[in-house]
């Protein structure tokens, strides 16, 4: 028993050491974002000898942070709501319809998950360009197209746990299909909706390539602004690091406010 206790203490120490290594990039980003260029040059590891907040002021302005945060929020929230709504409707319809056609359509959605973004992006941008849809609305529609497959798959799986006797009882009471879905089925699908929303939020919030091809300079999201900002201040690390810290804050808030659901959701998305 004593031997086991010692082994446990060693494991604790190893765990703490690895944990420290893991967060060290964030630590280095944070401490150096408060330094002057000279401060970074003299000692890159230590906390700042003299704190400066000018970096943040400048980065905040250059990133046009209020606007880019707003753009990111609008695009992410609307896309996720659209994906949750239409994918759950489709998952419900496909699960309740037992025809061969329905099974084939589901298979098409699942097979579409094999298609990587880069293999369709060139014609996609061309088609939407011709339709004059290279804007926020077009982007949200694209996110529905790319995001619906996995979401429908997850909803369809969850539907197998919801008995169709519920539907039948509601039909007898005179409810329409849409009422059945909205009043009975959708509330029961809430846990899977949380998973779908989290998976799509992480992806859309961080996405860089697609919005960079679609959006004009007026509706740029945080990653796009970050890319330009970094290119502009590439050797001025004090500014770049302050900008990066600002860009990460919304994600950290999101993580700590819904950590349990996020980890559960990501696990579900991966293992299925």
């Amino acid at each position: 028993m004593k031997k086991k206790k010692r082994a446990n203490i060693i494991l604790e120490i190893i765990g703490i050491l690895i944990g420290l290594i893991w967060i060290s990039p964030f630590y280095l980003m944070l401490v150096n974002s408060f330094k002057t260029p000279k401060g970074i040059f003299t000692d890159v590891l230590a906390p700042p000898a003299e704190m400066t907040y000018d970096n943040y002021q400048k980065a905040f302005v250059e990133l046009d942070f209020v606007k880019s945060l707003f753009n990111s929020l609008v695009i992410t929230v609307v896309s996720v709501l659209v994906i949750v709504l239409f994918s759950s409707l489709a998952g419900y319809a496909l699960a309740r319809n037992k025809s061969r056609l329905s099974a084939t359509i589901l298979l098409i959605f699942v097979a579409a998950m094999l298609i990587p973004f880069q293999s369709v992006m060139i014609p996609l941008v061309s088609i939407f360009g011709m339709a004059d849809m290279l804007n926020k609305v077009g982007l949200i529609f694209m996110y529905l197209g790319f995001g619906c497959s996995l979401s429908i798959f997850l909803y369809h799986g969850a539907m197998t746990g919801i008995s169709s006797t519920l539907d039948e009882a509601a039909i007898i009471d005179g409810a329409s299909k849409l009422q059945i879905f909205w009043k009975i089925i959708f509330p029961l699908l809430k846990p899977i909706s949380v998973t779908v929303a989290i998976l799509n939020t992480i992806w859309i919030w961080n996405d860089y390539l697609l919005p960079s091809l679609v959006l004009d300079s007026n509706s740029e999201t945080i990653p796009i602004k970050m890319f330009y900002f970094f290119g502009q201040y590439t050797k001025q690390w004090h500014l770049a690091l302050a900008g990066l810290t600002i860009a990460i804050i919304p994600v950290i808030i999101f993580y700590f406010s819904a950590q349990k659901q996020i980890v559960a959701g990501v696990t579900e998305g991966a293992v299925k």
């Binding site: 890159v44 409707l89 329905s102 014609p123 992480i202 696990t267």
Partner: protein, 286 residues
């Protein structure tokens, strides 16, 4: 009955339409365009397999493909070893288990673009600063040659994705019945014996899942590549996704870029279908 059909189509039309316009149509059109001299708007004639023949002699494309394969192999091995290690660590009832789990998983939520910039700072400034301090020459000049660019990308990816692989393994570890482990304890089994004979066989399915996840992710990586090395020096650390983007939107060779995209699709599809095959086979075995 008519009514039922109607609501079925009503419910699936929005997603069906978006999938057709956003994914299926571009895939079909793109494959068609790859046999023409398409310039992004129109094309004047068919060129047969000319774009694909050109691919065979494209040193940059071949170098990007080879770099991507090497990158995939290195990151798959490291990610699975470290991911499993972290999973075992945080499930061994430490006082710090919960906080460690939080820390290991955190990089996953942040975009690859931002993480790549942070690590550029670490490789370029922190490494050289520390190298000077303790006198290690090898820490100088990171990301300035192919070798350190390669390992830089691997380290970034492993750091970012290990937490993800970790939670996959945790999900499988939680399925290992406690009675088995307790029985092994009574029989006096060591940690290593328990791992080798009980835990490992039971979490093997998790290995298939995470191996293919990391494999297809490694092929699709773009953001990290862009922000950490931007393909440099001299495009020697350029990966496949970036090569396609550069050909199409950098050099404006749309048809040629699309032929690369078609090859890319075939490679990723083969990887994913192999995964499906192995998953099915495993389910049958069970």
């Amino acid at each position: 009955m008519k009514n039922k059909e109607f609501s079925f189509w009503l419910f699936i039309t929005p997603v069906l339409l978006s999938l057709l316009i956003v994914v299926i149509l571009p895939l079909l059109l793109g494959t068609y365009y790859s046999f023409t001299n398409w310039n992004g708007l129109t094309f004047t004639n068919f060129v047969g397999f000319e774009n694909y023949q050109r691919l065979l002699g494209d040193q940059q494309f071949k170098s990007a493909l080879w770099f991507t394969i090497k990158f995939a192999v290195a990151s798959i091995i490291l990610l699975n070893v470290i991911g499993l290690g972290l999973a075992l660590l945080v499930t061994s009832k430490l006082k710090t288990s919960n906080i460690l789990r939080t820390v290991f998983f955190m990089p996953n939520l942040i975009g690859g673009l931002i993480l790549g910039f942070i690590w550029q700072f670490i490789f370029v400034r922190v490494f050289s600063g520390v190298g000077k301090l303790i006198g290690i020459e090898a820490l100088q000049g990171w990301l300035s040659d192919t070798q350190t660019g390669f390992w830089g990308l691997v380290i970034l990816t492993v750091w970012q994705m290990s937490g993800y692989i970790m939670i996959i393994y945790i999900a499988y570890l939680q399925n290992v019945p406690n009675e088995l482990l307790e029985a092994a304890d009574i029989d006096g089994a060591s940690r290593w014996q328990k791992f080798k004979n009980i835990i490992f066989p039971l979490i093997a399915p998790g290995f298939t899942v995470s191996m293919f996840l990391t494999l297809s992710n490694s092929f699709k990586i773009y953001d990290q590549n862009l922000s950490l090395t931007n393909g440099g020096p001299y495009n020697s650390t350029q990966m496949m996704a970036m090569n396609i983007v550069d050909t199409a939107f950098g050099s404006n060779e749309m048809a040629y870029g699309q032929s690369k995209a078609v090859i890319f699709f075939i490679i990723v599809a083969i990887i994913s279908l192999t995964q499906v095959y192995f998953n099915k086979k495993r389910e049958v075995d069970l």
